[in-house]
C-alpha cells in the first residue's frame, strides 16, 4: 500500500502526461480539468494514505527506489517521512485548488497547463522525496522551469516580463547553489544527506573555508527561491503577471517547496553551523517588516497578496531559525495555514478578475454587496492571516511565537507579534478598498463568482475554520507523539 503511494508520487504525474498527450488535441483541450484533476486528486489521496500509514507506524520513514537497486553502495534512493508526506499533501491540495481555478480562468494553452502542472508536481514531489542535494537541485530546477513556462505561456507583455525576471533571478539562485554544492563536494566527495550530516567547518584548510562559503551560497540561493528580502524582487512581479491559477501554485506551494524546504534541509544537514540560524532570523525579520511595508502601498490586488507572501515567509524563516522541533512544527503549521489563506486570496482574485474585470484596487470598492461569499471568504482569510483565533493562522503564529520564546529569542517573538499589526494594516486596506465602502457605478452589475472558483473559495474557507477549530486536537495528538 505504502509502496504504491510512494511510487505514485513520481510515476503518476509522468503517466498522466503520457496518457494525456496520446489523446486527440481537441479532446484534451476540452477535458484538461479531468486529467489535471485526476493527477492532483491522486496526489492528495495517496498523500493522505501515506500520512495515515506512516503516522500509524509512529512517524518512521520509508525508503524506496524505482527500477533501481537502492542497496548498491552510494546509491541514491527516495525516502518518505511524515514531514515530507505532509508537504506532499500540501502540494496536492494547492494543485487541486489551482485546477479548480484554472477551469474558469484559463482559455488558451489548456493542454500545456495540464502538462506543466503535472511536471511541476513531479518536480516538487521529487524535491521532497530525494535524499541527495544534487537531485534536490535538479528537481528544483524542473519546478522552476515549469513555473517560468506556466507564467510565460500566455505571452502577454506582463507575463513574459514576469517570467523572464523570475528566470534570471532563479538562474542566479542556481548558480549560487551549484557553486555551493561544488564546494561541499570538494570536501566530502558526496552530496547524499547521510554523508553530509554532521559536517562542520573546523577551520584552517581551504576546503573548510569553502564549506563556509558554500553555506552562505546555499542560504542565499534558497532565499532567492523563497523570496526573502532582499532576494524577493522577482516574487511580486511573477505573482502579479501570472494567471491566477498559476499564482495560486507559486505562492501556495512553489516558494515553500523550492525555497523553504531547501532551507529546512540545509538547516537540518548542517546543524553544526549555528550562525546559519542567525542569518535566517535576520532574513526573516527583515522580510516580515519590508514585505508588510511594501504590501501596504501596492495598488494591485495580487501584488499586495504577493508581498504578503514575502512577509509570511519571514515568519516561517523565523520559526526555522530556532532550530528546535517546536520551531519546525511551527514552520510546517505556518506553511499549511499560509497555503490555505493565500490560495483563498488568490481564488478571490480570480473571482474578482472574472466578475469585475479588474484587479486594480483603485477601480474596486463596495463589492461586498455584490459578491458576499467572496467577501466572506476573503475576510476569513484576512482573519487567518492576521492571526485571529480560531482560524488556522492564529495557531501557527502562536506556535512560532512559542518556539521563538522557548529558544530564548524573546526579542524576536515580540517583534513578530508587533509586526502582526502591520499585517493587519495592509490586509485591512486591501479588504476595505476591494470589498467595502461605496460601490462604484461601473461595478453595479457585478455578480457573485460561480462554479469551481466559488467552490474553491468555500472549500478553503471551510478548511481555515474547521482545521482551526480542530487544532487543539491536532496539538494534543502531536503532544502524544512527544513532538511538542
Amino acid at each position: 500500500m505504502l509502496s504504491v503511494c510512494a511510487h505514485g508520487f513520481i510515476l503518476a504525474p509522468i503517466a498522466v502526461v503520457l496518457i494525456y498527450n496520446l489523446l486527440g488535441r481537441d479532446f484534451a483541450r476540452r477535458h484538461f480539468v479531468w486529467f489535471a484533476g485526476a493527477g492532483t486528486v491522486w496526489q492528495l489521496g495517496s498523500a493522505f494514505a501515506a500520512f495515515a500509514l506512516l503516522w500509524r507506524t509512529g512517524g518512521g520513514s520509508y525508503r524506496f527506489s524505482i527500477f533501481w537497486d537502492m542497496r548498491a553502495p552510494g546509491a541514491a534512493y527516495f525516502e518518505l517521512s511524515t514531514l515530507k508526506v505532509f508537504l506532499l499533501l500540501m502540494i496536492g491540495l494547492v494543485s487541486l485548488v489551482s485546477v479548480l481555478v484554472a477551469r474558469q480562468t484559463i482559455d488558451a494553452n489548456r493542454s500545456s497547463y495540464a502538462n506543466l502542472l503535472m511536471i511541476l508536481m513531479l518536480g516538487m514531489n521529487g524535491m521532497l522525496l530525494v535524499t541527495d542535494l544534487f537531485s534536490l537541485y535538479v528537481f528544483m530546477e524542473v519546478t522552476g522551469i515549469c513555473c517560468f513556462v506556466m507564467i510565460a505561456m500566455f505571452r502577454s507583455r506582463a507575463d513574459l516580463e514576469g517570467a523572464f525576471k523570475y528566470l534570471v533571478m532563479s538562474e542566479m539562485a542556481s548558480i549560487f547553489l551549484l557553486t555551493g554544492f561544488a564546494f561541499l563536494f570538494m570536501r566530502t566527495g558526496s552530496l547524499r544527506y547521510e554523508d553530509l550530516q554532521g559536517l562542520t567547518a573546523t577551520g584552517g584548510l581551504l576546503e573548510d573555508r569553502l564549506v563556509g562559503v558554500a553555506m552562505v551560497l546555499l542560504l542565499s540561493g534558497f532565499s532567492i527561491k523563497t523570496g526573502a528580502v532582499p532576494f524577493h524582487s522577482w516574487l511580486p512581479d511573477a505573482h502579479q503577471s501570472a494567471d491566477t491559477s498559476v499564482s495560486v501554485l507559486l505562492s501556495g506551494i512553489v516558494i515553500k517547496i523550492a525555497g523553504v524546504y531547501g532551507l529546512m534541509t540545509v538547516c537540518r544537514l548542517f546543524e553544526g553551523f549555528s550562525s546559519m540560524r542567525t542569518v535566517l532570523a535576520v532574513l526573516g525579520a527583515v522580510s516580515i517588516l519590508a514585505g508588510a511595508l511594501l504590501a501596504a502601498r501596492q495598488g494591485h490586488f495580487k501584488r499586495v497578496v504577493a508581498y504578503s507572501s514575502v512577509s509570511q515567509m519571514g515568519y516561517i524563516l523565523l520559526a526555522l531559525s530556532t532550530g528546535t522541533t517546536l520551531g519546525l512544527i511551527g514552520a510546517l503549521a505556518h506553511i499549511l495555514s499560509h497555503a490555505v489563506f493565500k490560495t483563498t486570496l488568490f481564488a478571490n482574485a480570480a473571482a474578482l478578475h472574472e466578475q469585475a474585470g479588474t484587479l486594480e484596487l483603485d477601480e474596486m470598492g463596495g463589492l461586498e454587496e455584490r459578491m458576499p461569499k467572496t467577501a466572506l471568504s476573503s475576510v476569513i482569510a484576512f482573519l487567518s492571516l492576521a492571526g485571529i483565533p480560531p482560524t488556522l493562522g492564529f495557531w501557527s503564529k502562536l506556535l512560532i511565537l512559542l518556539a521563538l520564546w522557548q529558544s530564548g529569542k524573546q526579542g524576536l517573538a515580540a517583534f513578530a507579534l508587533l509586526a502582526s499589526i502591520f499585517t493587519s494594516a495592509y490586509m485591512l486596506r486591501l479588504q476595505k478598498k476591494a470589498f467595502f465602502g461605496h460601490i462604484r457605478d461601473s461595478l453595479t452589475d457585478v455578480r457573485e463568482a460561480t462554479g469551481t472558483v466559488l467552490a474553491a473559495e468555500l472549500l478553503l474557507t471551510a478548511l481555515t475554520v474547521l482545521i482551526g477549530c480542530a487544532y487543539p486536537f491536532i496539538l494534543s495528538a502531536l503532544g502524544a507523539q512527544g513532538l511538542l
Partner: protein
C-alpha cells in the same frame, strides 16, 4: 607556487563573476541568457574540479551531464521568452521590462 586545482578554481570564480556581471549589466536579453551560460561554465568547472579533488570524478561527471541537460532547457526557455518579448516590443532591451514595479 599555486596548485593547478587552485588555478582552476580561480578561473571558475572569474567565469562566474563574468557571467554574473553579464546578467547584471547587460541590457540585451539574449546576452543575459548567454551570461547565465557563461556562469554555468564556471560552475561546471567547479564540479569537475571537485570531482578530481575528492576522487569522485565519475559522480561529478553524472552531475555535469544533468547540468548540461538543464542548461539546454534553460537556454531554450530564456531564448523563447526573449523572442516573445522581442515580438512585443520590437527590441531586446531589458529596459522595456518595467511594467511590473513598485
Amino acid at each position: 607556487m599555486l596548485s593547478v586545482g587552485y588555478m582552476l578554481l580561480t578561473v571558475g570564480v572569474l567565469m562566474v563573476l563574468a557571467g554574473c556581471w553579464c546578467m547584471i549589466r547587460t541590457l540585451h536579453m539574449l546576452k543575459i541568457t548567454i551570461g547565465i551560460e557563461v556562469a554555468m561554465k564556471g560552475v561546471t568547472l567547479f564540479l569537475v574540479l571537485a570531482g578530481r579533488v575528492s576522487g569522485q570524478l565519475a559522480l561529478s561527471q553524472t552531475f555535469i551531464l544533468t547540468i548540461i541537460v538543464i542548461e539546454v532547457v534553460v537556454a531554450v526557455v530564456g531564448t523563447g521568452m526573449a523572442v516573445g518579448l522581442f515580438r512585443k516590443y520590437g527590441s531586446m532591451s531589458v529596459r522595456n521590462l518595467s511594467r511590473l514595479k513598485g
